[in-house]
Every structure is written in C-alpha cells, then in structure tokens.
Point group: C2
Chain length 228, copies 2
C-alpha cells in the first residue's frame, strides 16, 4: 500500500506508483466527464477506464465532486504552466501574446474535453469555475502591466485587456480547434487574429481622426525607452 499524505479534499500519493495511479484516474475522469457530463458520469466508469479497482479510486478521492474539482484545478494549472513555458525566453509582449495563442490552441487540441469540463464546472462548483479564469487572468494582468511599464504596449486597463485576449483565444479555439471544418484556413485565421491583437496593443499607432468623440482620441503616450 502506498504511503499517503492527506489534504482536506484529496490524498496526494508520495510514491511514484501512487502518482501514476492518481494520474490515470485523473485522465480517466477527464475523458468520462467530457463525454457524459458530470451528472451522467459514475465513479465506477472512471475507475474502470483507469483500470483501477473501485476501492483504489477512494484511496485518492472521497467522491465524484472532489475528483472533478481536482481535475479543473489541474487543467488550469497545466494550461498556465504550458503558457509560461511557451513564452519563456521571450521578452517582447507582442511575441509573447502570439506564442501564448499558439500554446493555448495546442493545449485545447490535446485536451479536447477542456471546454466541456470547464463549462460544467459552473454547475458543479461555481467557485472552481471562477477560480479557473481568475487565476488565468492574474498572470495575464501581471504580464500586461509589466509590458506597459516597459513601454512595449499601450497603457490600457490591464484586466480589460486580459479578459479580451482570453475571450479571443477561447472563442477562436472553440471555432477553429474544436469545430474545425473542411475549408478552414487556420493559418490565415491565426495571422488575422494575431494581427488584430498586435494592432490593438501596439504603441505608436496612428488612427485617422474619424469623429469628434472618438474613443481613441486621447493623448497617446509616446514610445518610451527606445524599445522598438
């Protein structure tokens, strides 16, 4: 029997075999929840798909809800880690955004149940659902603010930008990763989205004066520190 440390919610194995079993249970839960939805999923099917005994499931998770919550938190953490890794070494915010989009689409194509699982979370446990986005936004906001301070992008409300960019990635991933169709030019889609985002963020853009009350007609910060 594995040695176990305990947490209020789930048990964290300390042996590598225990880690592998728990990982198999999480991946099985990911596929069962994505396929059937939370209400129609059973612990028996999760255990079965993980090739584990029912009793083994209960060694790691007290109930169905706890494995679900753990799964959403784990997917969020994995996504944030992959975003961080994909942009490691990049210093230019526009390059970081482009790489982040690509990493997100890649993640969504590997974790095809991601959307369905996160959307279910709203009904299974609303705080878990919010936490998924709030944590994602937190890192985003910090990165955008640093880029504004460094004069790499325009100064705008960082949280508004973070949710704008997250929303873009989410909807583009839904349409062009999950619902991809024959005839979609995914390359062109990506270039268009990145171009839209780059123009939206970049310094030193000059909009034509279109109308007196133009929302963009505020004094614009000049490019600072020669970052160009």
């Amino acid at each position: 029997m594995n040695q176990l440390s305990t947490s209020p919610r789930t048990r964290i194995p300390v042996t590598s075999r225990g880690h592998r079993t728990r990982e198999r249970l999480l991946r099985a839960a990911e596929s069962v929840f994505a396929e059937r939805g939370f209400d129609q999923s059973s612990i028996a099917e999760i255990a079965g798909r993980a090739e584990a005994a029912l009793g083994t499931f209960y060694v790691y998770f007290p109930d169905k809800k706890s494995v679900f919550i753990e799964l959403v938190d784990e997917l969020g953490k994995k996504l944030r880690r992959e975003l961080a890794e994909s942009t490691a070494g990049l210093t230019d915010r526009l390059e970081i955004e482009r790489a982040g989009f690509l990493a997100f689409f890649q993640f969504a194509s590997v974790h095809r149940g991601l959307y369905r699982i996160v959307r279910q979370a709203e009904f299974v446990d609303e705080p878990t659902f919010r936490r998924y986005y709030v944590e994602l936004a937190r890192g985003y906001v910090a990165g955008l603010e640093a880029a504004m301070d460094a004069g790499q992008i325009r100064r705008l409300d960082a949280e508004a930008l973070a949710y704008s960019l997250m929303g873009m990635a989410d909807f583009l991933g839904m349409r062009f990763v999950l619902w991809v169709q024959d005839g979609d030019d995914v390359e062109r889609v990506l270039e268009s989205a990145v171009s839209f985002m780059h123009h939206g963020l970049a310094l030193a853009v000059q909009l034509p004066a279109r109308r007196p009350a133009n929302v963009s007609a505020k004094p614009r910060k000049p490019a600072r520190k020669g970052k160009r």
Copy 2:
C-alpha cells in the same frame, strides 16, 4: 381554448392571450434553468413559476428539452435583434462595434441567466449550442466583410475577427457584468476594450518595425475611397 398552429417541436399560439402565456412559460423556464440547471429543473416548477397549470405547459411544449431548446434559440434571436437595433442608423463599423458591445453588456445584465443557459446547451443539445454562436457569427461576418469592402476596416479573415470580437464581449461581460466587484471601473474597462478593438480593426495604423518576421509587417493596404 386558444387556437393553435403546430410546429414539429413546439406550438405557436395565434391569440394574444396564448402569446402571453407562452411568453410567461419561457421567462419562467429562463429563471428556473439558470438557477437549477437543466437536469435539476422540473416542468412542474416552470409551470408553477409561470402561474400556469401543468397541463397548460404541455399545450405549448411537448417536454422539458423542447422548452429549453426554444429558450436558447429565442435568446439568440433576441440578442441578434437587439444588436441590430442598437446599431441601426450607424454606418461606421467602428461605431457599430462600440454600440454592439454596449448592447451586449446591456442584454447580459437583463438576461442574467444567459451565460448559464447557453453553457448548459452544450450538454442538453449540442447542435442548439453551436447554432447560437454560428448564427451570431453569421451576421457579424457579413457586417465585417461589408466594412472591409467599404474600406472602413482592415482586410483580415472576417470569421476570425467575428469570433475574436464575440469572445471579447463574452469574457468582458462575464467578468464585468456578471462578476462585477466593488472597485471595478467599468467605464475605463469599456473604453480600454473599445480602444483595443478600434486599434485592432482600424485602417491606416502604422506599427513600428519591431522584428524582421513581424506578423504584421505585411504590405498594408492604403486607406481607400477617402472613407475617414
């Protein structure tokens, strides 16, 4: 008894009293589904909240799923109509986008169950879920393409832009309408999002040459037709 015409799924009343009853049932369904989720909602509660007899429910809808599908389709249609009305008379695409964002946030603040209901649709009836977004995108794409043809905005992939803008509105509405917190500066958020979007779409922007392989460093179309 009302006169009724029949459709494969639901019955459409032809008297004004019938219309009012059906409308009450739909609004009751909206609040019950948003609150409890589809699986935990009952026809009895929907009828009760509409102050209608159970038998009256079945005059209009054969079952719980049919009223749910009707509700999602109706919310989509209403949203598209309100977007169209809010932008009627505007000819400049950037003004249209700004007005559309505002109309969407307004709609989300009135129909507070919108997000939860649409998200449930993925599990209740996937085609209904997709239809909601595909129909929304269809009008969007047509408007964006017309604006590109008229030289009002840059030429990019219109469907990529449509999903980008829909995703922005969706996530901003989630964060700043549904989850609004003390201390949120919603005015600033809106101005930032609109500014981001305007810069992203507008013609005649000049990006600094940042790096050789810059995705935006393609030959840029000059502003056409003096539309400025």
